[in-house]
């Protein structure tokens, strides 16, 4: 869901995703390496949620960019909805004023 969210914002490439994951303070994804990220990207690509293609960047170099597909957008929306309801449910149990 995190990767799909990042890719849904704009067409991006592997290293930029790593930078995005490390950008936030106290990010649980800090220190994530390419050996972990790229295999996940390939799974998303194989599932048709993202598409990776080589194209020429502004600097004139050929780069592999990832872009979200329509299927990816709808799967991401489903994941976000699930995450909201899941979080809401768990929050009810972990709140300090919870009593059974």
């Amino acid at each position: 869901m995190v990767l799909l969210s990042i890719i849904s914002r704009k067409r991006t490439y592997g290293y930029e995703i790593i930078l995005n994951l490390n950008r936030l303070e106290d990010s649980v994804f800090q220190n994530i390496k390419e050996g972990t990220l790229y295999p996940v990207l390939y799974r998303l690509e194989d599932a048709g949620l993202v598409v990776g293609e080589l194209s020429v960047s502004e600097s004139g170099r050929s780069k592999k960019y990832y872009e979200i597909t329509n299927l990816g957008i709808s799967v991401l929306q489903g994941m976000k909805d699930f995450w909201e309801s899941y979080k809401k449910c768990i929050d009810q149990f972990v709140k300090e004023d919870y009593h059974d």
Binding site: G14, Y15, K33, E34, G35, Y42, R61, S62, K63, K64
Partner: protein
């Protein structure tokens, strides 16, 4: 070490099919070029990314026990067996040619002796013949088996690339 050598070293150590390695190569190239665009030298980039073995280990850990890695294991097994059988076949045939050449050299020297003693020459010259048939059969068997394993490897590889 050049960029190409560094990438090749990483890919060589990753236990993955060629299809996956092709994807990894494109991403690593993009990553290195992006870092180069920030003004870093190749040496600084390699230092930042780490030893090729370390980079490969991360991929291998992620892919550990996956269907893809099992497929890679099967491909590697078939490739190694095919290579071993084809080498054995080549060695057997080469050995036979060498043995035949030596036999010819020995026979010609025997021929001089045989010139004085006809029946001896005939007996010694015919002695090497059954060994030659065995070598040809063995070499042929290794060649056929090697080709079967090579075909199996190519079929499995082609299937994985679909």
């Amino acid at each position: 070490m050049t960029k190409e050598q560094y990438i090749k070293k990483i890919l060589r150590k990753i236990k993955a099919t060629d299809k996956i390695k092709k994807r990894i190569r494109a991403d690593i190239e993009t990553e290195i070029e992006d870092l180069e665009d920030t003004g870093l030298t190749l040496d600084e980039i390699m230092l930042q990314k780490g030893d090729p073995q370390k980079v490969a280990d991360e991929f291998n850990q992620t892919y550990s026990d996956t269907a893809m890695q099992k497929q890679y294991g099967r491909q590697k097994g078939l490739k190694t067996t095919a290579a071993a059988l084809l080498s054995l076949s080549a060695l057997t045939f080469a050995g036979d040619v060498l043995r035949n050449a030596l036999q010819g050299a020995i026979n010609s020297s025997i021929g001089i002796i045989g010139g004085a003693d006809g029946p001896t020459r005939i007996i010694i010259a015919s002695d090497g013949f059954p060994g030659r048939i065995t070598a040809i059969f063995a070499g042929g068997a290794f060649l056929i088996l090697g080709l079967i394993f090579l075909a199996a490897f190519l079929i499995v590889k082609r299937k994985s690339e679909r």
